[in-house]
Symmetry: C2
Subunit: 522 residues, 2 copies
């Protein structure tokens, strides 16, 4: 069998990668498959060093494609990150943030009133202009009220849920979360779509996989270019796997979930090969934010050598596994040190479709095709936000922290720890520390774990500070924050009675409408 993982010096990029962009301009644009994981960490794949090495399909995907070790989420939390993927814009621009407190993470729980604003132009909406048929499988997370429905935002099909699979709830104080097929609810988690919290058994990944395979087959038969957004959530706590995978991992239940997803990715790539459309299909694998160490070790993954996890703006919170796969186009077995962002998938997908990104707004995503096809690296900063606070920025190998905190002492004392066993004195703080005048700066090549801040007095510090300061100033001078969408909550807007509930006899009565400020503790 072929070796199944990748790793080369980045210099090789300049030598290889002669595969042609010419093809990109060819008549029928390639299909696009974005495989987005939920709370999966950088360190969860064999090819990224996970010691149990249980991701042979993803490792093979990397060996056949290109690995990005320096690829970032746009936020350490799910909803804003997903909004960024589909808009190509930082959450601070799209409004996917809160101003209810300083430097607070926010998302779209059941009681959220907001969602993706109508003015935002979403990737599937734009791809329709190039004749794509679009499907989302899995978690939407950009708002659950009717006006935010994915089929109103460019998707032609949906099988999945607007929210996380939290629960079970009692359907009185709080309804169980609905699962949709297209416009209508077809059941709820823990009811028609069971998740056994005790055993971890759920066959959702199997269902999501079948949805993906069916869609690919149908679009292939119809000879239409397609966009598949496969947003599975088995690695988000409560983690789950179907019976054949339960108990098979060396890593426990979280590993079972990873193994099942890996198997599914293998099936999707195999189908593309078997249909002989692998060379016509661009596939990208990544995750929405870092592993949730709060749920480790049983329900959380690994961020490898990086500091902390989900909810934080340390590398563990936002550096993601990332693999591009496009046989015959993206050269195989390569590593790109391009600083990448989940927002780049927006711009790159448009580029693949022969479309220009919207010109009437700031787009943060880069077109990664030059990096992927020709090894052309582009300098660009990475911005790490929490709410509307710019916590940190990376330029080249230097990362500057303007604010540090993980979570409050109050939470921490209650056992909520986003950095278990990873306290770095003066870095992982439990009060919000203002370093905007004199940021903590790390060299991520020598010190990927952010444990050794550069000396303020060193010439290297001054050099790094100059570069990052300039990038931040340019960013902030032109920044127009969007209207914050994640400030107001209201139990009345929960999914009490989504369309389709009447067919199932599952319409619930909403409580009285009481809008209030959402509570975002960290």
């Amino acid at each position: 069998m072929a070796p199944v993982a990748a790793g080369t010096g980045w210099r090789l990029l300049l030598v290889l990668g002669a595969a042609g962009l010419a093809a990109v301009g060819a008549p029928k644009p390639p299909n696009i498959v974005l495989l987005l994981m939920d709370d999966m960490g950088w360190g969860d794949l064999g090819v990224y060093g996970e010691p149990s090495r249980e991701t042979p399909n993803l490792d093979r995907m990397a060996a056949e494609g290109m690995l990005f070790p320096n690829f970032y989420s746009a936020n350490p939390l799910c909803s804003p990150s997903r909004a960024a993927l589909l808009t190509g814009r930082l959450p601070i621009r799209s409004g996917f943030y809160t101003t209810n407190g300083h430097a607070r993470n926010a998302y779209t729980p059941q009681e959220i009133v907001g969602g993706i604003p109508a003015e935002e132009r979403l990737l599937p909406e734009l791809l329709k202009g190039a004749g794509y048929t679009n499907k989302i499988v899995g978690k939407w997370h950009l708002g659950h009220r009717p006006q935010f429905h994915p089929l109103k935002r460019g998707f032609d099909e949906w099988f999945g849920s607007p929210n996380c699979h939290f629960g079970p709830y009692d359907n009185r104080a709080r309804p169980n979360i609905p699962v949709y097929r297209d416009w209508e609810m077809v059941g709820r988690y823990y009811e028609e779509f069971p998740i056994n919290l005790k055993t971890g058994e759920a066959n959702l990944t199997q269902v999501y996989t079948q949805e993906a395979l069916d869609f690919v087959r149908r679009q292939h038969a119809a000879r239409r270019p397609f966009f598949l957004y496969w947003a599975v959530d088995a690695t988000h706590a409560p983690v789950y796997a179907s019976r054949p995978f339960l108990g098979t991992s060396r890593r426990g239940r979280y590993g079972d979930a990873v193994r099942e997803i890996d198997d599914s990715v293998g099936k999707i790539l195999s189908l593309l090969r078997n249909l002989r459309i692998a060379e016509d299909t661009f596939v990208f694998f990544t995750s929405d934010n870092g592993a949730a160490l709060i749920s480790a070790p049983k329900q959380g993954g690994s961020n490898g050598p990086f500091l902390c996890g989900k909810q934080t703006t340390f590398e563990g919170g936002m550096r993601e596994p990332a693999i591009a796969w496009w046989p015959g186009r993206v050269p195989e077995g390569q590593v790109s040190h391009q600083l990448g962002s989940i927002m780049d998938l927006f711009t790159t997908s448009l580029s693949l479709a022969g479309l220009a990104p919207p010109s009437d707004r700031v787009i943060d995503g880069l077109d990664l095709l030059p990096a992927m096809l020709w090894g052309q690296l582009t300098d660009r900063p990475i911005f790490y936000y929490r709410g509307n606070t710019l916590m940190a920025a990376t330029l080249g190998q230097y990362k500057a922290h303007f604010w540090t905190w993980t979570n409050s002492w109050e939470e921490f004392r209650q056992g909520i720890d986003f950095c278990p066993g990873q306290n770095v004195s003066g870095v992982t703080t439990h009060t919000q520390e203002d370093h905007t005048e004199l940021p903590l700066i790390f060299h991520l090549g020598r010190d990927p774990g952010e444990r050794f801040p550069l000396s303020f007095a060193s010439p290297e510090y001054l050099h790094a500070l100059r570069g990052v300061t300039l990038a931040v100033r340019q960013h902030q001078e032109t920044l127009v924050p969007g209207q914050p969408q994640l400030n107001v909550c209201n139990r009345a807007v929960m999914n009490w009675a989504p369309p389709g509930c009447e067919k199932l006899g599952k319409c619930l009565t909403p409580p009285e409408s009481v809008p209030e400020k959402c509570s975002w503790p960290h």
Copy 2:
């Protein structure tokens, strides 16, 4: 180009690996090349997830061979680990430990009186019985007095040094460390063999590489089976690289050293291929102990997701990168979850040579050929010692800590930190904590970073405790500690006037002999 790294589920081992042991019994035994790194960490190779991915040759070696993610040193420090490699025995048996304090690490500095005991049977001594010609290139570290000379212990050739490349010294209070060619000193570090501490420039890795290549060519021409023990030390602080590699790494000077070694490994493997003896040569790559985090980030490496580093009995101190390469014999691109030990290289090498290990003493090393050729995994414990104290033991996926400490509060307050930014409350202690009655137990699959001890009350804890306790009892019941070799120091035994000094006019006058207890602070 071919993909250049490896990673598959361990189950594949059972399917693949039909390559034949028949060949092992063939007339001419294979050549054996052991590539032993110095203070290189598990996380330093691209194939183990190092984000800069600067080890294309080692990654390719793994893609062409077998990767061991669960491979251990026999000690968290250099000399005992190297003694274990060449004897197949735990340092507690060979005497490579101290009793000067409880749970203290010891090695062979210039003033050490002891060394590898005459009664120990060393791998090169035994291989001579099968007609091998043996060479050590680089660091010996098993004693520097005349009676411990490697050419007295089975090696036919030596180019390297008995000690680390510490210095420079003034040749009055302390001599610079000698470099030998065979029986005689041919110069000293910082004198004939310069190391520029300011720039990090030294061409030693190039010299060591040339020595290896020349030896291979000569033995090939002579049609003799050979054993090459390539023990380079560029990744031990003070780290160094030759000019073409300086400043080329994304990781700083430490990375420069790794890149040069990686390049050298590539040259050695290429030569084997070019001479058409790759299929007749077993090559194994590993390191003597975990990365020295005390020297990080500029002079120390990475232990990936593992806790702490060199000097400690946490995983970061003793889990090592390990790759077996034997084209046509060891199946390519495979991962083995065999718990392996550096001591296994002794037994495995003898097995390759058609020799049985000595039967008159306990040998701790396993023959890894069944694991490598047929995927046969063997249950076995891993013991983690510090001095003569059994600190921890691993059986299967469970690791039990009987004693915890990193180093003393006194040292720690002086800035000596073996676990920077990795304090785990109750685990990384600065007092020696006795857990022998109720060990801390971790599941290394779910929690490779040793951050979440199992609950003492859980059935899993009791199950794990039972297994580990039995293994430890069996170990301790038969254990006969060797005479400790690392207790006595004496400045008079330093290399003041090694053989050959007279030719160089470099004989120094030793001071008065004053034997004293060596000081082993941690």
